[in-house]
Symmetry: C2
Subunit: 536 residues, 2 copies
């Protein structure tokens, strides 16, 4: 009994003592990490299932966990961690966007660069206008009366931010490279555009509005786009130069990997410090790092960076969806909105209809305008593809929720009832769009596109011509093809190719410039000393 | 001019708007990440220098940066981030300790397991007693009068925590495997012991102290040691089983790596939740993961985990030293201590002398007692090695500072003057020991040990006999050697080996048990289906 007593007193002593950390933090982190593990395992088991994916698993698991926490805390609170914009914008979003830039197939991305810009910039602006206008016209009929013009424009910007994370889990880079690069590229540019729009709206002075305001907005956007890109490219090039010059590979893989990680993150923080778009900066930093820096490091570093960045991004994505699911049951917000279910459903449905309409209002017009200027049939975007582009961008995610909190959670208005309602309705839209569209998209693509792809022209229809062009240029210049293909390249006249493939021609001159000036300085494939045992 | 005006107004608008994050956080993070990059680059450039290493570079760079911040803020503050125990114990320490377990040479570690336990547990307790007693006897003469018995015992526990991070950068696992495994293993056990001691002291009821207290303390320690180890081993085995059963390798390296990372971290959080020692748990989880889980994943995952864990650990280490350097100039602490330089120097010197004495008081006796029980000359620890073991454990690091803050920063005593003095003096001891010992250790080892190693018996003198034993056992059992060595194994009698090498014999039976029961269930080298293109 003495020993037992000793154990008991000791363990109760330990209860308060043997940790530096507050028990709440530890419980929250333990549950969160256990849920993350569960998401990965369940996601893997469901992998063969065409309707499910990790995002939806995480979202539903988060909902269940939120429900359990709600029950355990006797309907006081559903969340373990408070939703923090800092957590999201400082630690979760940067690795996802960096990895996106790092793993993107650069050729496809730059080949469709003008289409991506059209969708990402003009498309987002059109969507923003449609949603704002729709909310302005329809909300008063539902009974929402306390929102002002700024709030309506805010709603437009908030719901224009598409969620690329879940989409990318559904689209395959290998099966549908064209669609992937369009939807993905649009997603990145869209994030930046909607965030810039959101803040521009918040800063607009509505008492003194004139034609100059639109011009200012445009100028701001162009300024942000080019400086952010330039910063990302610069940091990427500096990292390539440092690693090439010091040639860390001789000694330490860990240092190379650490330097790449730290400099990527540094580019994001620098952009935020200079009030640029961190998302655009770290995205282009990722592209430059994969083009130059990645080739300057050892083989182990290449494998490590490739998979480590993907893993960190994957964990961050799962974390976000888990969190969004858990956050959805936050009882305080539902209480303070005081709306009857009918109003909530009406507002959510209106918002969702506006999202559908806003996206349709730019995808089909822009695609058709682009088609009008295309000479060859193969580079045109068919209706089926347009439909998929429209559909794949309907999901809303963490950026939407973060912006929504920023707009409505800390507003010091007289009536916070409608603000709380806007937050809960945004969450409903995010949950509904992710679960429904996330699960339907994969089967839909299979049904609409892949089964009909052969008669109507493959998704990668214009890829061979790019390869042809490069080969014929190389042969004309007396260079040998890198890949020792067996198939003889078909001869075409250079002039004909120049006219029919302007983007490809830009790519050719970029390659020449790259080989002559960039790679000798910054390294890159074939421009670093050979290390034994290091293929590629 | 209009355009210029527009730019100006827009950029000032952006100044306040285009970021979600507070400017202070961004500046702090940007400077920190820039400094981390600088540490890696400068550390690399100084690599050939035998006196310097990354820890010292980070510490000095942190000091410089702290000085600059102090000047910029006009002597208001020297630090960018507030020292947070949460940051240290939740995010920086776990990856370092996990990586230590993951990369440790298991054979060496377990072969010297009893020596490690002797040094780590009894040694730390002896050191704790010597330092506490010394402080108690000497501080009153210097003029420190407001500390009570609890504070003196706290000082003993605080300064018993050695810093293994810097030591490991100085010692080489390949050149001096025996010393590395002793110093490193002692470091891990020592961290756990000193943290348990620290909290036991804080919870001791001095009004009601008896012989049972010591017994309770012993019981607590044993309980913590075995349960923490068991938890770490369990989580490691579960991870191995999950990955082996689901066999992620078919599809996704990223999922495997994510699961390993998350489960390792989960083991730490679970231990903290159950009030066990997270450090011990994650250390043994790392060992089990490297023994089983690591062999169940794809070749890419192996390379990725090996380097990614090392990289994260490396970044965390550099971060800690950078922070400690920056924190050292914290003007508030120096102001509130109000001590004249003479007192500071006297207290620091006393503490440092106690550290020297406390370590000498257990290294030499324990080593000689151990030598007394060794039968063969080759397994004895010579005086030169004893000296290096003593020397290599004199550095004090982040654990010391974290414990010191916990003890003295939030004390609600009548006189906080002496508490502040204790913090500043602890920082002086940490800085002095890291810079001086960190820079001298490498040349010292070369001078003392490596140049004399051949005549007095190599550091790895007993390694061949281990290999002999395994080979002769394997041959007796009719198994073929894994490595097709050309040298014929010398024949020895099994009984003789059993008597002369008890540890080795335990290792042999463990291997038999491992091959028969553990590996078929949990995977491991040679026990997972062959994947094409996956060597080892």
């Amino acid at each position: 009994m003495v020993a037992f007593g000793a154990i008991r007193s000791q363990s109760s002593t330990l209860q308060d003592s043997s940790s530096f950390l507050s028990t709440d933090t530890i419980i929250a982190l333990t549950v969160f990490f256990a849920l993350l593990c569960a998401c990965i395992i369940i996601g893997h088991l469901l992998e063969e299932n065409r309707w499910a994916n990790e995002s939806i698993t995480a979202l539903l698991l988060g909902l269940c966990a939120g429900g359990v926490v709600l029950l355990v805390s006797k309907f006081q609170s559903s969340h373990l961690l408070v939703f923090s914009e800092d957590l999201f914008f400082l630690y979760l979003l940067p690795p996802i966007i960096f990895n996106a830039g790092f793993q993107v197939k650069k050729k496809q991305f730059f080949k469709n660069f003008n289409t991506i810009l059209l969708f990402g910039v003009f498309g987002t602006v059109i969507s923003f206008c449609v949603i704002s206008l729709g909310a302005f016209l329809l909300f008063k009929r539902i009974g929402i009366s306390t929102l002002d013009v700024k709030d309506y424009l805010g709603v437009g910007a908030i719901l224009s931010a598409t969620d690329s994370v879940c989409t990318l889990q559904v689209l395959s880079q290998d099966e549908t490279p064209f669609l992937y690069s369009i939807v993905f590229g649009e997603g990145v540019v869209n994030d930046a555009t909607s965030i810039v729009l959101f803040y521009s709206v918040q800063e607009l002075d509505f008492s003194n509005i004139d034609a100059g305001s639109a011009l200012k907005l445009l100028w701001t956007f162009l300024y942000l786009f080019f400086t952010s890109t330039a910063l990302g490219v610069s940091v990427g090039l500096i990292s390539a130069y440092i690693i090439k010059t010091l040639y860390f590979g001789r000694r330490s893989t860990d240092r190379e990997v650490a330097l790449m990680m730290l400099m990527a993150y540094l580019s994001y923080m620098l952009a935020e410090l200079l009030n640029l778009s961190g998302i655009l900066t770290i995205f282009f930093c990722g592209i430059v790092m994969s083009h130059y820096t990645w080739h300057n490091v050892t083989e182990s570093s290449r494998i490590t960076t490739k998979h480590a960045f993907a893993t960190i991004s994957f964990i961050a994505e799962t974390f976000i969806f888990l969190y969004v699911g858990m956050d959805a049951l936050d009882i305080d917000k539902w209480k303070s909105s005081k709306a009857n279910p009918g109003t909530s459903i009406a507002v959510s449905s209106t918002l969702f209809a506006m999202v559908l309409l806003g996206r349709a209002a730019f995808v089909f017009p822009i695609a058709n305008i682009k088609n009008y200027f295309q000479r060859t049939e193969s580079t045109k975007i068919g209706f089926r593809k347009q439909f998929i582009i429209w559909w794949a961008g309907l999901m809303r995610g963490a950026v939407t929720i973060a912006l929504s909190y920023n707009q409505f959670a800390e507003s010091e208005k007289t009536s916070t009832k409608d603000s709380a309602l806007m937050i809960t309705c945004t969450i409903i839209v995010v949950l509904f769009s992710t679960v429904v569209f996330g699960s339907i998209t994969k089967p839909l693509i299979e049904a609409v596109l892949l089964r009909h792809s052969k008669p109507s022209g493959s998704d990668a229809a214009d890829m061979p011509s790019l390869e042809d062009l490069r080969l014929s240029f190389l042969i004309e210049n007396g260079e040998s093809s890198e890949q020792g293909d067996n198939q003889p390249p078909p001869k075409r006249s250079r002039l004909g190719l120049l006219i029919s493939h302007p983007t490809t021609t830009v790519h050719y001159y970029w390659r020449k410039f790259d080989d002559k000036f960039m790679r000798p300085v910054f390294g890159g494939r074939g421009f670093v000393p050979f290390v034994p045992g290091s293929p590629r």
